[in-house]
Subunit: 414 residues, 2 copies
């Protein structure tokens, strides 16, 4: 991977893209969407090469399915790009402004971050999603996908680059790293001269590696050890319903819950109801001794590690706690800071939970599954940040921006 060459090309492209007007960017996005559809056959045959490699390497059926592109899925990608085109352009927004006592006028205006690096795994649709979100927010991007999807990613990126160029923007607004070795990921982590931010999208291992090794500023995304706390005053049906939804509607995603905490005063009544709902999907419960005492031998004893684990599966840890404070302490200890929920009827409990729980999204009486750019009304999302610097929670195109100060005077000195 020639990081110097890609970095310089991205910087040069960014200087044009960063000041391009919204019409030009939208025209490019429309061209990109149309080009994906027009080149569907080409993309699908590249994808077939990836699928064939996957089968040779014994890839699981579920992963093969995630990797597979069909005309419908390509139409879906094109549709995603059109949705990004329809979003309001964040660039140029005057965020604040004032006139200082000496007469200088200060504006803070929204500008692109510059060059965004994204390291991702598996699904080839990330290539078009990420490219579209970066382009709309005025950022050049350097994308590095996994080796499993390299033929698909190359085909998609090639089509998108050509389309962007046809609309008058530099092709290098979108660059894909063709080298999928571990070394190329490490090289990206050292591109602090060229990358303004690096966003890892994938499993906990990838994210940890990037956070630990990158000298480029990182936005940590997506690891979610999420909790529901059932307070003593909870509506038990509501609690069971929220827990069922948050655990089983899509267990493999980061906003699914992994542990429930149940107030001791309601545990005896609530746990059997919750249990019954979870049995519909054969959810395995790993509980503390008090959970076991109430629900019996079907509960597997929970270890400390269970409470720290993002199962991403039909497995749920459970602990009976003495108080709201104990629930908050448990969350402070084990949570990854993604999404937590309290089910309660009590005003003060709700207030205390929302102010004391230090996570990106804190819920009262609704499912943690709502932590999502689309559900929050941000449009498409580039990821869900679990760090506190720069962006926290679902990141839309606005979170792919920075700002600068513009100061106008007529000769003022200090």
């Amino acid at each position: 991977m020639d990081t110097e060459k890609m970095g310089l090309a991205a910087k040069a492209a960014e200087r044009i893209l960063g000041v391009a007007d919204t019409n030009t960017k939208n025209k490019a996005l429309e061209a990109m969407a149309a080009a994906l559809e027009a080149n569907a056959d080409k993309i699908i045959s590249a994808n077939e090469a990836d699928l064939a490699n996957g089968r040779t390497n014994g890839m699981k059926d579920s992963l093969l399915d995630r990797l597979r592109l069909t005309p419908e899925r390509i139409a879906g990608m094109a549709d995603g790009i059109r949705q990004v085109a329809a979003l309001a352009d964040p660039i140029g927004e005057i965020i604040e402004g004032s006139v200082r006592p000496n007469g200088i006028k200060i504006q803070r205006v929204r500008v692109p971050l510059g060059v965004v690096g994204i390291i991702f795994e598996a699904r080839p649709n990330v290539t078009s999603d990420a490219a579209a979100l970066c382009l709309k927010s005025g950022n050049a991007c350097i994308l590095r996908g996994g080796k499993e999807a390299i033929h698909s990613n190359m085909a998609i990126a090639g089509v998108l680059r050509q389309a962007a160029e046809s609309a008058g923007l530099p092709a290098d607004c979108i660059q894909l790293v063709s080298d999928t070795s571990r070394e190329s990921a490490n090289q990206m982590m050292r591109m602090s001269k060229y990358l303004d931010v690096l966003i890892p999208r994938g499993g906990a291992g990838l994210i940890r590696a990037v956070v630990d090794n990158s000298t480029v500023p990182v936005i940590e995304t997506g690891v979610g050890n999420c909790h529901v706390f059932v307070d003593s005053t909870a509506d038990i049906e509501m609690a069971a319903n929220i827990i069922y939804n948050a655990k089983t509607s899509r267990p493999s995603v980061c906003n699914a819950i992994e542990t429930i905490l149940v107030h001791k005063d309601i545990a005896e009544k609530a746990l059997p109801v919750i249990r019954e709902r979870l049995d519909e999907k054969n959810v395995e419960l790993r509980g503390c001794e008090r959970t076991h005492a109430i629900l019996g031998d079907s509960v597997i004893p929970a270890t400390d590690e269970d409470y720290a684990t993002e199962f991403l599966d039909y497995i749920l840890a459970c602990r009976v706690v003495d108080s709201l404070d104990d629930a908050i302490d448990h969350i402070a200890k084990y949570s990854t800071g993604h999404s937590e929920c309290i089910v309660t009827s009590d005003y003060f409990s709700a207030e205390k939970f929302t102010s004391s729980v230090d996570s990106a999204a804190v819920y009262v009486n609704c499912s943690t599954r709502f932590t999502d750019g689309g559900e929050f009304g941000l449009g498409a999302e580039i990821g869900i940040s679990t760090q506190k610097l720069h962006a926290r929670g679902p990141m839309g195109i606005r979170q792919l921006t920075s700002s600068k100060f513009i100061i106008q005077g007529d000769g003022q000195i200090r």
Copy 2:
């Protein structure tokens, strides 16, 4: 340095400080200011130990002067803390909010970052400034100053901790690392489990080391290779005045300029005027061939390295450029992204310069020396960010915050 112990103590303190109300925080700040004044003798005698060490180690007079604490300087530090107390509390601000179609109510509220690490050099007043800014914004801090000021810093931190505690906040809101070895700085850079952000304050070497080695998210501050471009339509007196101010009013600071770029059409008239002003302070000019042709042999030939150097001294690089575009290209190549200025009478030049120059602060017709939290109306500043992630330009207490989403429902599931 026991990072585990300090980290846990900071986290525990932050959970209390982060939800403390404004009255409590202000009471603590008032107590801290009063305690500095009441303990001035103690602090000054600790400072004398540092001064004695400095003299033994052959420290320069100018550095000894920066290190020295007097009753007046301590009163100044106390006054600084009182000014922070007077700032509006950013915590709890509702930044935005909406009701989604399914009835869930989403608010984004401002919260502290959590635990802020600061590695700084030299001046002991940073200890009280940083502690006050962090406390007001609800952040616990771990401060590591230089070995030159360790006795002073320990005395100051001890006084501040006690005062915070007397006002009902945990002493561990403010922790100072007593170990000033290089190893302790390296350990802080690896405290990603406990630190939410690490801010280096000091020279370019320190900042580079932190950016390259930290696994904690970093905010890069303060390196300023700043430019003034004198456009062909500039008011020459204004240009000379701004250049004189931006170079000589305080050459050692990051918002001082290091290079001037002069449009070829005005160079012959402007350069002698600029030169005359700069001669008042014996500023050394390092210029290109065209500068030399106009100003003669007193101009030292500028190397490529000169254009990349933050002199922080009475030295100024100069280049005659063919056009506004060439000036923008020069800045894109050499600038550290801090502050740049155009002196012009032309509307389109001003617009193009402000939109195309990618720096934290872009000026039209006034001095770059205004890049400062106080001058921008943010109150005291923790530093000037030259990166694009999270904060850019002068950072006040608001830039020491993050946000979280609070979502209220009545049983909604997805």
